[in-house]
Symmetry: C2
């Protein structure tokens, strides 16, 4: 009897926060793999702020998800059938399998993972794109140096929590920005940040001035908006502003540009964007170093794993935009 695949497809391009009507739930039979293909039973879906951008029309760093297509998502799962020489049934794999229970893949971008070393969700987080994003953004684009004062926004999130910990390992002083006392406590007590600022609790610009009186050398931005402006107002000379994300703006119909961007001139600073995909030939290097830090307890991995079905994906994605997650947000299919 053929298996049934439940899928979440993009039904409409959202205006602002995605609504239920922007999604459609479909079912399909799972085909046998054709020559060169494999079939994967998806077990864990990565839930990422960048997904909101993929839902918009227009070219970005990747093409948009087409209306009617299965929503794009990084995922891990197990090969159930393979007609691909590189994979066998039973292999645990990572790939861009999409928000569905079963994926048929030609093997491109599919990586075997060893779930005896770390749980599947960790390959979506610290040992996956999330950790690599933090690693290359901070060390390469941010050119972090020992003794730097580093500020990370969205610091309790998946990338932010790893970025801050890597900065500590590399000898920086690290200040994290997060929303609410609970997340701020996690930053200092769990992730070892030197200080945490609750952006909901007061004037971020002033708080940064107090915590970084000699200025911010590296600002790792996951949020954009007013917090980016507050950081720009507190740059040290020759500071590096690393553009990783702008979650505060993803659901805005009119994006707020940083009004004080000329602080970059006053401080002879730079603001630079990067994508983890530019570093594919160095993934091994990054993953080896991150795995070593995790093994030594120098990086604390925190994941928020929601159990459910693919139908729970829209509500799980909403958690990101409401700032409800600490660490990597994962939807585990039960």
């Amino acid at each position: 009897m053929p298996l049934t695949n439940h899928q979440v497809r993009l039904a409409a391009r959202p205006n602002g926060l995605p609504r239920a009507t922007d999604w459609s739930l479909t079912t399909e039979e799972v085909p046998e793999p054709a020559e060169g293909q494999l079939v994967v039973a998806v077990s864990h879906l990565s839930v990422d702020p960048a997904m909101r951008g993929w839902m918009n029309a227009g070219a970005s760093y990747v093409p948009p998800v087409e209306i009617g297509a299965v929503m794009r998502a990084g995922a891990v799962g197990r090969v159930t059938a393979s007609a691909h020489p590189g994979f066998a049934a039973g292999d645990d794999v990572y790939g861009t399998f999409g928000v569905q229970e079963y994926a048929v893949s030609d093997g491109r971008g599919v990586i075997k993972i060893d779930t005896s070393l770390a749980g599947p969700s960790t390959y979506l987080g610290a040992l996956g794109m999330t950790g690599l994003t933090a690693y290359f953004g901070l060390l390469d684009t941010g050119r972090l140096k020992e003794g730097d004062t580093v500020v990370v926004s969205g610091a309790a999130g998946a990338v932010g929590s790893v970025a801050g910990q890597i900065a500590k390992i590399k000898g920086a002083r690290v200040i994290g920005l997060a929303g609410g006392p609970e997340k701020c406590r996690a930053l200092t007590e769990e992730f070892g940040f030197d200080a945490a600022i609750d952006y909901r609790a007061g004037n971020v610009r002033r708080a940064l001035r107090e915590h970084a009186p000699r200025g911010v050398d590296v600002y790792f931005d996951n949020v954009g908006g007013e917090i980016l402006e507050a950081a720009l107002a507190n740059l040290a000379m020759r500071a590096r502003v690393v553009l990783c994300g702008a979650i505060s703006q993803y659901n805005e119909t009119e994006v707020r540009g940083p009004a004080n961007y000329m602080a970059l001139l006053v401080r002879r600073a730079r603001m630079e964007g990067f994508l983890v995909f530019d570093f594919t030939d160095r993934y091994d290097e990054g993953l080896r170093e991150i795995a070593g830090w995790i093994a030594k307890g120098r990086i604390v991995v925190r994941e928020q794993v929601v159990s459910g079905t693919v139908d729970d994906f829209p509500a799980t994605l909403d958690m990101l935009f409401r700032g409800e997650n600490v660490g990597k947000l994962v939807l585990q299919l039960t």
Copy 2:
């Protein structure tokens, strides 16, 4: 009989465009130089967009001009009396002498110039801070490479016209943005730009896409605002946006930040500010190279010299903000 010094002082901090009431005209006797001082009769005043920033309260890259102080200005003049070992009466000099007829100086930052090689106004322009700003901004901050597509805004202005010509010398394709057909004609016919876009005549974003279909490698920004956004919308991969100025915003009470700044992420591009003062130890190198290009006719120097008294300074400064000048704007004191 002591000489009388007419001066223009800052009377109030402008809100928006400077008004007559923001200035006061004063007269003083010119003192004899004390030990270590020299007195300079100012002949030419540099009139620069950056002056508007110096009039605002708050720290920038230089302290603001204090209320009641003589307005800061780069200038050239001739030493009339000296009790300084490095200068003698009759020396032609450049310095930050301010908007006044006579300046008493301790010699710091004062440079002797040879007016037999180039006219005094050129030492305020292409052979002065203006030329050096174009040179280091484009070649160092902008990391210009042969074959790059370069876009310069404010391209008919003092810095822009030199920056575009240096880019041409270095083997780039150069597109200039300026206001009005006359300036655009100057760009292509006089300064040798490959193309000119009249930003008043239509959609700049679309015009840039047509003129730079493979994207902009270096954007040298003198204006900010909508034109900066149009350039960000047309960046090539790994583009460099050089922040030199933002004249469109200097008189705005609310600065417009670039709403599409995340184009820097999509294109893995950087936006970076610089100040010519950071390159003081390389001024000689820059000036030698620029002087050579001028001598060979590879850089066409254009100056707009207004003759008048210091009392004409406020009206001359206004010309900048109305976009009336082509090339370096200088007030020659008669």
